[in-house]
Structure formats: C-alpha cells, structure tokens
Symmetry: C2
Amino acid sequence: MSKNKLRKIAKLPSIRRMPQYLHIAKRLHKEGQEVVSTTFLAKELGVEPIVARKDLEITNVVGQSGIGYKIIDLIDSVETFLGWNNNSDAFLVGVGAMGSALLKFNGFENYGINILAGFDISHNILGIDINGRKVFHIDSLPNLARRMKVNIGILCVPEENAQEVADMMIRGGIRAIWNFTPTKLTVPDNVVVQREVLASGLAVLSVKLGKLFAEEKESGC
Amino acid sequence: MSKNKLRKIAKLPSIRRMPQYLHIAKRLHKEGQEVVSTTFLAKELGVEPIVARKDLEITNVVGQSGIGYKIIDLIDSVETFLGWNNNSDAFLVGVGAMGSALLKFNGFENYGINILAGFDISHNILGIDINGRKVFHIDSLPNLARRMKVNIGILCVPEENAQEVADMMIRGGIRAIWNFTPTKLTVPDNVVVQREVLASGLAVLSVKLGKLFAEEKESGC
DNA sequence: TAGATTGTTAATCGATTAACAATC
DNA sequence: TAGATTGTTAATCGATTAACAATC
C-alpha cells in the first residue's frame, strides 16, 4: 500500500454539507417540486448561495441557467458522489445509550447505510430486538462480518474497549469505522476511520455564547 | 443589535479540537502526570504537532521550552477559553432516541453543561426519571427556563416541530440552542444556534471508503 | 552539551467570496 | 426584454505548514 498521504480528503466542508442538500432535495421531491436553485438550497442551509453553487459543482450535477437543477438529477448526483446509491451494510457495536439511539434511528436508509445488527457483551441485552435488529454477542462479530461481507462498523463501546473492538471489526474484514468513542484508533492502511466528537459542537456553541455575552456587556456600558 | 457579521467565529477547527485536548489532559491528570507536550497531545489526536501547538496558542496557555505544559494550567486554560469552568444549566427537549441517549450520558459535566431536565409532549414519558432527570411537559418550559435562568436548550424533537419548540425556548429566555434536527432555525440576533448533523460524519466516511476502494481497484490492475 | 520543546514569524495551501459572461 | 440563475475564472481570506531562535 502506497504512502497514506493519499488518504487526505479535499473539500471536507463541502462533503459535510452534502447530506443536507440531499435531505432538502428529497423533501422537495416528495412535495412534488421538480426544480430547485442554489439560491433556495443556500437559504435552507443558512449559507451563501455561492457556497451551495460551489458545493454542487463537485458532484458534477448540471443545471439550467436561469432555472436551477432538476431535483431528480440533483439527488442522483449527490448520492452517486457519496456512494449512497447502493446502501452499504453495517454492524453496530456497543448497545448503550448512544448505540441504541442509533439503532432506533430509521433515517440511515437515506444516508447510505443499512444497519443489520447490534453487538454487545452484556447479557441483559443479548438476543433482544431493537427496531427490528437483533443484538448478538460480540465474539460472533468477526465471523458474521466476513460471512455477510459487511464493510462498515459503528463503534459505540466504552473508551477502554475501543481499540480492542476495532481490532475485532478489522479481523472481520470491516473497512470503514464510524467511531463514536474519544479514542484515536490505530488501524492498517486499508481501513478508514471517521471519528464523531459530539463535544466539538458543544465547544463551538459555548464559544458563540461567550462571544454573544461579551458583546452585550460591551455595548451595555 | 449590531450587524450580525460579528457572530462569525474564527478558528473553528481549533475550537472543535479543544474538547479532545481537555479530555486527554484530564485523563493524564487522573493518572498522576504533571506535564504534557504538544508532541504527545498531537499523537493522541492524530494530528501534526504544529497543529496542537497552534491550537493551544489561542487559549493563551503558557508552557516551558523543552518541557511542555503543566497539565493543570492546560486544563484551566482550555476550560476558560471555552467558558466551561462554570457549567451552564441546560434543558433538553424531545426525549426520543437521541434525546434519551443524551440524557443518559454522564460526561456533560466535563463539557461545560449540566442538563437539569427533559421535556416532551408524549404522555408515556411524562414524569419519568432518566438518569436522575425528570421529564416535564413542554408547555412548562418557558416559565421554568425563565425562573431557573437556563441559558442552553438542546433540541431533539422531530423536524416538523423544531422551529415551534425553538420559539418556546427563546420565549423562556434561552440564548443558545444545540440543534439536533435537520431544520435551519430562525432566531433573533441575541440567540446562537449550533446545528449537529450526524450524517455529515457519515458522508465523510463514505467518501473516504469510496476513495479507498477506487485506489485499490487502480493499483490492482 | 544534546535533545526536546515552546513561541513566533514567514510561506504555502486550500477554501471562500467576488465578478461576470452565457443562458433560460 | 428583464430577472434569475448557472458555470467558470480570478481575488481574497484564513488555516495549515514550515522554519528557526530561545529555552529548559
């Protein structure tokens, strides 16, 4: 495997906005609309129109001057760009608070993945059914993942077990790990990881609020 | 209120990494360590050392050449920067899958907030206790928020009710909304919003995985 | 002294924004 | 025709990276 500088992804901010364009486009499609402009999309997202224009550019969707984009084209282009036109199967490990919230969430079918089952170690939840998904013992994960050719793993275990469970996923042939733990995982070159840090959003919110209060205090004097 | 260009926050990527530095520093502190270098922090985060150095710079923490930072100084500086040295009270609305996962999560005390209670409309969950927090009817939110001077609202309701519930929060004097819905909220100038889009991380993961497969296919020929 | 690290200035890179012709 | 919008090129801005003196 070559130098893993290759693994660096460009236009991260644009990619992060894609699901929102998709969500709006699907809503409009359901409402019977046929075209949409970046002006409209941008307003819905709370960004400048030029941002939406540039974002859509990277999906290679083509629109019509003066009109906008055909919604079905837009949906198709964004889904293709993200590789969401064929949903990938996923296993979720760690059926605690966050894990079961994700299992209960039904929207993932719109986000390119299809969670097949949950895995845990606690006897209390083994064998139960959450939203149509069985919870299995984690020891069965590597074999099941191989057998079912599951590519995506969702990691919701306690911090202490994160690396160990990630290793089991990798042993099962999983190639992409959506990591909800605060642990930086060590993985081989042929596995990708995306860490989800909820506290990041909270940090941004806190700084915004602090700034707001500071401004008010200032102008109040 | 002045032009809300002022609301634009600089160094967003650095701010988003702050909770991770804090988390590592607290862990080391518990382990009895007294100093830490940006070299170490960077490795734990999976970023380049220069990144960590620049990040910490904006908190105004001072270190010692050749040694690193005193961990207690680091914790204090990051917490002060984020305004997390005094936890803010928060109300959470929408005790569904995501809402109850957040209520069950105990780590928020380390992330500057203190969730006091949950709110919902469904009779099944009214009055129940989740992790020591009562669930009240949403109609009581504005008054309670005012009375208890709650500044932060966590919005986990269905998309259709997002704006309506945000308006109730604002009526209650809430100034910062952590928005887990896909809705772009309309709020007055004296309220800040941070939207949390879980699907963004999934989009990035999908693009990374697609790139990985494409590279393998390429080198496999 | 040698190695590690901070603090800071400068260089590079990429993302955002502006501008505008072409099109409907 | 006038207004709206795409597609594209150029300009600006901010974030990342490099470099290095000063310090322990």
